[in-house]
């Protein structure tokens, strides 16, 4: 049986990892802080995948991000999806060369759909994760440019992404982002019929029970958290243990 996944999302800008709350950013610590406080060498026992997003639009900071990515990949043996600021094939290829297994695109899906198509054709659907920032409560809308620019209805955007053949959808609720109040499952009402693309739920997880609600949902394939404080220390490992005790459909790793 295919297991569901627990994903840890890291937000990065200019040498620091950040906590985001409704897209307002707070610096938390650098990579050494992360390695130490998250016992990074053993993080692959707790989570199935890592997502790393560079929020810095300053292009001179890209080499610093690539080095950080490579250092992280060297410290954990799990799949890493990287993104933020992917506007060219060169940028995508640099991320893969520095150890990313998948690419995360968001704004490019609105502004450069031809780039997304090119990346799908070059690297395959399984390499492409489309991140969506959405909010409600009525007429669920999607936003680009770090939730700054409205881009129409969530349902229409999902259809568009299906047409672009992306491999996975990362569904992030702007109004729950960093709040720890739990996921907003309303977004799933906008999922078109006969939907085939794996969905990662994001935005709002503060407790293992939130993760478990997502993992039990038939439309959801993975649960993500980007909260640097709620699962600090061995928090991710204990969340996974609790989830497995409640028979969540996660992989059990050998000792």
């Amino acid at each position: 049986m295919l297991k569901k996944r627990l994903i840890f999302t890291l937000l990065y800008k200019n040498g620091s990892f950040l906590l985001s709350r409704n897209f307002r950013l707070q610096r938390v610590g650098d990579i050494q802080w992360l390695f130490k406080n998250y016992h990074f060498e053993t993080i692959s026992d707790a989570i199935d995948e890592l997502i790393v997003l560079n929020l810095d639009d300053d292009e001179t900071k890209i080499p610093g991000f690539l080095n950080t990515l490579e250092e992280m990949v060297g410290h954990c043996m799990i799949p890493v999806a990287a993104g933020g600021q992917i506007r060219s094939v060169e940028m995508a290829s640099a991320l893969l060369a520095h150890g990313a297994d998948k690419l995360v695109v968001n704004t490019a899906c609105f502004e450069q759909p031809e780039l997304v198509e090119e990346l799908v054709s070059r690297y395959g659907s399984q390499c492409m994760v489309a991140s969506i920032d959405w909010t409600g409560p009525d007429n669920l809308k999607v936003f680009s440019h770090s939730a700054a620019q409205e881009q129409g209805l969530l349902h229409d955007h999902l259809k568009r992404l299906e047409g672009l053949n992306v491999g996975e959808i990362y569904l992030n609720a702007i109004h729950r982002d960093g709040t720890g109040q739990g996921y907003d499952f309303d977004a799933l009402n906008a999922v078109p019929n006969d939907w085939k693309v794996p969905i990662i739920m994001a935005g709002g997880a503060g407790h293992s029970s939130h993760l478990s609600q997502a993992l039990e949902h038939p439309l959801i394939d993975a649960a993500a958290t980007a909260n640097l404080f709620n699962f600090v220390g061995k928090g991710l490992a204990s969340a996974r243990r609790e989830l497995l005790q409640c028979e969540a459909p996660l992989a059990k790793f050998d000792d």
Binding site: L2, E70, G74, M77, I78, P79, Y123, G124
Partner: protein, 206 residues
């Protein structure tokens, strides 16, 4: 011991090399046919579309080197993910294109008629009817990490297979003489994955 990862511009070598160094093995990355043919072990990784990968391999003159290394020189070879598919005869990804024909199996899209989601992403358990060198000391139904939309058939009867079920059973791995392939990513599959890589590197050359 010379472990060579073949570089054809489409693989994520870093993760495989990191996994090998955790096991205490040095490896190098090369696109030089002479280096490849003088290796003790060859790993063919790969992320991307089959057609582009074959165009790159042919364009770099590597297809012939890989075939010679595997058949005439008998060097143990492991294809990972797309790397395994390239060892097959042909794929329908992005138009039909020919593979390296080291195993006589075709590659096509996973059948989604049962309602499964594609790509197949995440940990899934694998099993085998006939054990092979790769499965040594591994438990049946161990979880490995997959991320793919295409899979290989098992029509070549001269190989031993590892299977996985997703909608229907598909080939998760094979052994044909000194040639091995895994559809999953052992370098992303925890200690079980490391054990499998170790098994491969302990194979004695015939």
């Amino acid at each position: 011991m010379k472990i060579t990862l073949i570089d054809y511009g489409m693989g994520n070598h870093l993760s495989v090399r990191n996994a090998l160094s955790r096991l205490g093995y040095n490896s190098s990355v090369s696109q030089d046919p002479i280096v490849i043919k003088n290796s003790d072990f060859i790993i063919l990784p790969g992320v991307g579309s089959f057609r582009r990968a074959m165009e790159n391999l042919n364009g770099l003159g590597l297809s012939e080197a890989i075939i010679q290394a595997a058949t005439e020189n008998g060097i143990p070879m492991l294809g990972i993910c797309l790397g395994m598919q390239l060892l097959g005869s042909e794929s329908t990804e992005d138009g039909t294109s020919e593979g390296l024909h080291l195993i006589d199996n075709k590659i096509s899209k996973l059948d989604s008629s049962s309602g499964i989601r594609i790509p197949h992403v995440g940990f899934n358990n694998v099993y085998w009817k006939t054990a092979n060198a790769l499965t040594d000391e591994l438990n049946q139904n161990s979880d490995f990490y997959f991320t793919h939309s295409y899979a290989m058939t098992d029509s070549d009867k001269s190989a031993d297979y590892i299977y996985c079920d997703y909608g229907a059973p598909f080939v998760a791995g094979f052994r044909k003489h000194n040639i091995f392939g895994v559809q999953f990513h052992p370098e992303k599959s925890q200690r079980t994955g490391l054990k499998l890589l170790k098994n491969f590197l302990e194979i004695k050359r015939a």
